[in-house]
Amino acid sequence: MTDNLNKSYMSYVFIWIILLCLTALTVFCSTLQLGHPAIWIALTIATIKGSLVLLFFMHLKDEQSFIKYAFLVALIVLAIFIGLTFFDVLYR
C-alpha cells in the first residue's frame, strides 16, 4: 500500500519535472528567431503540457474511454479553431 503511494507521488514529481522542462523549452524557443514555426512549436509544447496535467494530475488516464474521447473532441475542436484563425492570418 505504502509502496504504491510512494510510487504514485514519485510519478507526480516526475511529471512536474517534465512540465518544468517543457516550460524552459518554451522560453528557450521564444528566444530563437524561428518565424512562423515558432507558434506551432509553442502550441505543440502547450498541448503536451496540458495533456500531461489532464492525464496524470486530473486522473484522465484512469477514466473510462468515453471521458477520454470527450477530451479528445475538445482538443480537436480547439485545434480547428486555432488552425482556421491562423489560416486567415497566414494568407493576409
Binding site: 473532441v73 475542436v77 479553431f81 482556421l84 484563425t85 489560416f87 486567415d88 497566414l90 494568407y91
Partner: protein, 542 residues
C-alpha cells in the same frame, strides 16, 4: 391511483416543509427549475420586446422622435444583449430541456440536480449584474451586442460591468450543457437503444456539446475586453502589437455556433411535433439525427463569414464561404424530412403544428437569406445593412423563438395539466405571422436599397418602408400579448388536458399531467419507438 394521492405527487403541489418561495428558488427538481427559467426568460423577453418597440417607434420618421442618438445606441445594445444572452440562447434548453429531457429519457431528474439549480442562480446573478450595469457607471452600454473593439475598449459607457454579466451567464450555459451531456449518457436506461431516443433529446444533446465546447471561448474573450479596458493589455490594439480582427475571430468562434445553440433545440421541437400531428413516424429518423450532428460540427467552423469585409484574407473568405454553404445541406435535410413526414399523413392542424409550420416557413426563408450573406460577392453589398438585421430576425426570432412558442403550445398542457383556447392560439399565431413579415421583410428590402443598420436617422426615401416595419411591430406585439393572455388563462383556468392530449408516443406522454415529482416509479421500459403511434389514439381524432 386515487385523485388525492395523484395530487400529492404532482410536482406543482405545495411543499409543506418549505415556504412557497423557498420551495421554488431552492428546488432541485428539474421541472421546477424549468418553470423558474420560463418565468425569468418570459419576463426578459417582454422587456426586450418593449425596447424593440421603442426603437421601431423612434424610426417611424426621420430625425429625433422620442429619444436622442445616445439613448438609441444604448437601446439597440441592451435589446440585443437581453434577447441574445438572456432569452434566445437559454430559451428552449433551459426551459424545455429541463422540463422534458429527463422524462423523455425515463429518468427521475438530471444527473446533477444541485448543479442544475446553481445554473439557474448563475443565470439570475449574471442577469442582475447586466441590469445593474444599465443604471451605474457611465450608463448603459452602447457598443451593440457584439462588443466590437476598439469601440468597446474606449467607450465611457458601463461596458465593463455588462460584459462581466454576460461572462457569468456563460457559466450558466456551460453547466447546463455539461449536465445534459452527463444526463443522457448516465441516465439513459440501458434498455433504450441510442437510435430510439426522441429527436428532441438528440437535439439537446448536440446543443449541449456546442455549449460546453465554445462558450468558454466567449468567456475568455469577454475577460480580455475587461483587461483591455482596465489595464490596457493591448491584445486587440494595433499600436501595441495587437490585432482588432483577433477579437472578431474570437467573438464569432462562439457567437456563430451560438446561432445553432438557439436553432438546434427548436429543430428538435419541430421534429417532435410534426410526426405527432401527422400520425406518422418521423421520415428519415437517422438522417435527422445525423444532420443535427453535422450542423453542430460544420456550424462551428463558419464563423468568419461575419468578417468578409473586415479585412481577412481572400483565401479565408473563400474557405469560410464554402463552409457556410456546406452547413446549409443538413439544415435542408431537416426541412425536407419534416415535409416528407407530413406527406400523406393524417394531419391535424392543431396550434402546435401551425406554429411548427410557421417555423419551417420563416426559418427556410432565413436560411436562404443566409446563403446570400454567405456568398462573399453579395455579402459585400448588403453587409452592415438592414438586410443583416432582417435575416438575423428571420433565423433567431422566426426560427428559435417561433420554435419556443411551438414548444409552449405543445408541452404547456403537460406542464400544467390544462389546455388553452385553440382558436385564440391560432388567431394569435396569424397576427404574429403577419406582423413578423411586415416588420422584417421590409428590413430586407431596405437593406438591399442601402439602409445601414444601427443608424438613428435615415434618408426620407426610406420612410414608407420604415412606417410599414413599425406598424408590423405593433401587430406582432399584439399577437404576442394575445398568446401570453391565452396561455396564462389556459394554464390557470383551462379545461383539464389529460395525460396525452396530442396522442404522443414519447415517454413524457405516459406520465400524468402535470408530471409527478419523481416522474416514474422505477425505471420505465421502452415498449415502442418514439414515433410509433400504433394503438395510440389522438384525442382530436375521436
Amino acid at each position: 391511483m386515487t385523485m388525492e394521492s395523484n395530487h400529492h405527487l404532482n410536482f406543482l403541489a405545495p411543499q409543506p416543509d418549505r415556504s412557497w418561495l423557498g420551495s421554488w428558488i431552492f428546488s432541485t427538481d428539474h421541472k421546477r427549475i424549468g418553470i423558474l427559467y420560463l418565468v425569468a426568460i418570459s419576463t426578459f423577453f417582454l422587456v426586450g420586446l418593449c425596447l424593440g418597440l421603442l426603437m421601431r417607434l423612434e424610426l417611424i420618421a426621420p430625425g429625433g422622435i422620442i429619444m436622442g442618438p445616445q439613448t438609441y445606441n444604448a437601446l439597440f445594445t441592451v435589446h440585443g444583449v437581453i434577447m441574445i444572452f438572456l432569452v434566445v440562447i437559454p430559451s428552449i434548453p433551459a426551459v424545455f430541456g429541463n422540463m422534458i429531457l429527463p422524462i423523455q429519457l425515463g429518468a427521475k431528474d438530471v444527473f446533477f440536480p444541485r448543479l442544475n439549480l446553481l445554473s439557474w442562480w448563475l443565470y439570475m446573478f449574471g442577469a442582475g449584474v447586466a441590469v445593474i450595469s444599465l443604471f451605474t457607471g457611465g450608463g448603459p452600454p452602447d457598443t451593440g451586442w457584439t462588443f466590437y473593439v476598439p469601440f468597446s475598449t474606449m467607450t465611457k459607457s458601463n461596458t465593463t460591468l455588462s460584459v462581466f454579466g454576460v461572462f457569468i451567464l456563460g457559466f450558466s450555459g456551460i453547466l447546463t450543457g455539461l449536465n445534459f451531456i452527463t444526463t443522457v449518457h448516465r441516465l439513459k436506461p440501458s434498455t433504450t437503444p441510442w437510435m430510439k431516443l426522441p429527436l428532441f433529446t438528440w437535439s439537446l444533446y448536440f446543443t449541449a456539446w456546442i455549449q460546453v465546447l465554445v462558450t468558454p471561448i466567449l468567456a475568455i474573450t469577454l475577460l480580455l475586453i475587461i483587461l483591455e479596458r482596465v489595464i490596457g493589455l493591448g491584445l486587440f490594439d494595433p499600436t501595441k502589437g495587437g490585432d482588432p480582427l483577433l477579437y472578431q475571430h474570437l467573438f464569432w468562434i462562439y457567437s456563430h455556433p451560438a446561432v445553432y445553440i438557439m436553432i438546434l433545440p427548436a429543430m428538435g421541437v419541430i421534429s417532435e411535433i410534426v410526426p405527432v400531428f401527422a400520425r406518422k413516424p418521423a421520415f428519415g429518423y437517422r438522417a435527422i439525427v445525423f444532420s443535427g450532428f453535422v450542423i453542430a460540427t460544420a456550424g462551428s467552423m463558419v464563423w468568419a463569414h461575419h468578417m468578409f469585409v473586415a479585412g481577412i484574407s481572400d483565401t479565408a473568405v473563400m474557405v469560410f464561404s464554402f463552409l457556410t454553404f456546406v452547413v446549409a445541406i443538413p439544415s435542408a435535410i431537416k426541412v425536407f424530412n419534416w415535409t416528407a413526414t407530413l406527406y400523406k399523413g393524417s394531419i391535424y392542424l392543431g396550434p402546435p403544428l401551425l406554429y411548427a409550420l410557421a417555423f419551417i416557413f420563416l426559418f427556410s426563408l432565413g436560411g436562404l437569406q443566409g446563403l446570400i450573406l454567405g456568398s462573399a460577392g453579395t455579402d459585400m453589398h448588403v453587409h452592415d445593412t438592414y438586410f443583416v438585421v432582417g435575416h438575423f430576425h428571420y433565423v433567431v426570432f422566426g426560427g428559435a423563438i417561433f420554435g419556443f412558442f411551438a414548444a409552449l403550445h405543445y408541452w404547456l398542457p403537460k406542464m400544467f395539466g390544462r389546455l388553452y383556447n385553440y382558436e385564440w392560439a391560432t388567431a394569435a399565431l396569424f397576427l404574429k405571422f403577419i406582423g413578423f413579415n411586415l416588420l422584417y421583410f421590409t428590413m430586407l428590402i431596405m437593406g438591399v436599397q442601402g439602409m445601414p443598420r444601427r443608424y438613428y436617422d435615415y434618408l426620407p426615401e426610406f420612410q414608407n418602408l420604415q412606417v410599414i416595419s413599425t406598424v408590423g411591430s405593433w401587430i406582432l406585439a399584439a399577437g404576442i400579448i394575445m398568446m401570453v393572455i391565452n396561455l396564462f388563462y389556459g394554464m390557470r383556468y383551462g379545461e383539464k388536458a389529460g395525460d396525452n392530449p396530442w396522442g404522443g408516443a414519447t415517454l413524457e406522454w405516459t406520465v400524468s399531467s402535470p408530471p409527478p415529482a419523481e416522474n416514474f416509479e422505477g425505471e420505465p421500459v421502452l415498449t415502442r419507438s418514439p414515433y410509433d403511434f400504433k394503438d395510440i389514439k389522438a384525442p382530436h381524432a375521436e
